[in-house]
Symmetry: C2
């Protein structure tokens, strides 16, 4: 595997706007706790006006994973659509500052760079309202074919299935990767997202996905069963590798020969679950790139996830390579 | 004191861009640790490119104080210049979200909303590089005379002395406040800022300032002495009230009759000193508005400052009113 990049992420390029909220605000907004909901600009403005002081940090599911992978020492690249505005500059700075190659041409007109209102409730659960903005403009022409060919793994997030033109970009990237003999990794992203795109995701799992990421709810919804064991077996049958996160319990990881449960790490004080799944995927994929065993990949995923939930926000500004050296 | 506002803040409207840095980066940038340095857009871009992942949060010295005052339950208003861009919208959201009245018309052309690169080193000290952008457009016309008259205290930060047109705005506000019989509070902001404007600040202290805020370094530079006791006595002679912060040791507060040292609070883990002085001023001024004794005002300043340095960033998104009730 002498490709230029270990992992190329393709996803929605988003800046998070984070704040703490009380449960009654979520109730009055009628947003299910823990979900990701798409909102238009007006709805976003209306919710934003109800929030207290916020902080802004780069987000986007695949981008969070790529940022953590870069911090772990993987060679990374990213494709996603920003606009040439202030939040776009923030997004670009943050992902490139840790060595990720990111050259997708920014939109020069149309909606602004995407943002996501991340509402962290007292139990540390996060609920998200996403305004996709410029992400809606990602299209086939944005897929840098050389970059896809030069990446051992392409990692796609299910949220990318929401903006219509991105689907074509998504499929183009998958086809190029498969032709080049590279691996396709995919995360189901969110149970509501699986619900919206279930049939297409099932088709992808059967035909295109080599490495599948999901949590318990998402995998059960995908396979239409309440039985986790059954869902895991179906994922094992469809994909070369699957990694199912089970919150504090850890994860279940599978390849064609094994199903292994890897115990989670104890986190003294969970502050914010934003980005836990993204961080898990980073640790797991870093393990894959390093040729680690399936169980080791699961443990590395658990480790990075446990660190991100001990902090506010989906990204860490610590050097994860040193962190892993000190904690394994 | 039946005015509409307890405190009106007038200052540079800035969004902070915060990140952790190692000491050698500060050395290579040749920026004295702990200082605030003004940079133009090119310098700012060049430094930003050298930084890792950042978070963005509203800042600006007087604005931080006003935000904390609002959270404490004071009635607050603010005057400062943003542009009608994304970071301007962030600044406006954050300060108004906690109930502060802020109506200064944003600039519609010219430089973007100001930002400050805040470099937090491993010892939790912060070093700041400020691009003043739209703040340079604040002028006399932005001073809402009714708002100044309706504010028991106007609070000005020394940094406002840096953009030239703001000085005229500053003087206009002082004159209106004095005519209305309201108090003028002022913070020296930063030792380099005092150095830049020493003679003018001395003149203000003697003639215009009722409540003076400074730290040890700043007050010694202002009065041209290495003897802290002497500097404090000079401040006592010039101003009705002075509050001198002494880092972990606490503060020295004076009125015409007394000089009182108020012991600082123990902070188990100092994470980031950004905004410590701003937070102190908020606690102190809230005490003044509540008719507390001089020593109580100093203790309240110490309390709010001790909380802000236990977190990253200059603002807290906790309700400070409840926090004070639980901690006093």
């Amino acid at each position: 595997m002498a490709n230029k990049f270990d992992v190329l992420g393709i996803g929605n390029a988003i800046v998070d706007i984070l704040t703490h909220v009380e449960d009654d605000l979520l109730q009055s907004l009628e947003i299910p706790k823990g979900s990701m909901r798409l909102v238009d600009e007006l709805e976003s403005d209306s919710i934003y006006k109800k929030l207290g002081q916020c902080i802004e940090c780069s987000g986007g599911s695949a981008a969070n994973t790529i940022a953590a992978l870069a911090s772990l020492g993987s060679k990374t690249s990213y494709i996603g659509k920003i606009k040439d505005d202030q939040l776009g500059a923030v997004f670009k700075h943050d992902i490139t500052s840790i060595g990720t190659e990111f050259n997708t041409p920014p939109a020069t007109s149309g909606p602004s760079t995407a943002h996501c209102l991340v509402l962290v409730s007292p139990d540390a659960e996060r609920t998200m309202c996403t305004y996709l903005g410029a992400c809606g403009q990602l299209n086939e022409n944005d897929i840098d074919e050389d970059m896809v060919r030069a990446s051992n793994i392409i990692y796609l997030d299910g949220y990318l299935w929401d903006p219509e033109p991105a689907k074509a970009a998504f499929r183009k990237a998958i086809n190029i990767a498969k032709e080049a003999g590279n691996k396709v990794a995919f995360t189901l992203s969110d149970s509501f997202c699986v619900d919206r795109h279930r049939n297409e995701f099932l088709h992808l799992a059967k035909n295109d996905i080599d490495i599948l990421f999901a949590n318990e709810d998402e995998i059960k919804i995908l396979y239409g069963t309440d039985d986790l064991d059954q869902a895991v077996k179906m994922a094992q049958s469809d994909c070369e590798i699957a990694a199912i996160t089970c919150s504090a319990k850890g994860c279940i990881v599978t390849n064609k020969d094994n199903i292994i449960a890897v115990e989670g790490r104890t986190v003294p004080m969970v502050k914010d679950t934003t980005g836990a799944g993204d961080a898990f995927a980073a640790g797991f994929l870093h393990g894959i790139s390093q040729g680690k065993s399936l169980a080791e990949c699961g443990a590395l995923g658990n480790l990075i996830a446990s660190e991100v939930i001990a902090h506010l926000g989906a990204r860490l500004d610590i050097n994860l390579k040193s962190f892993v050296e000190e904690n394994t």
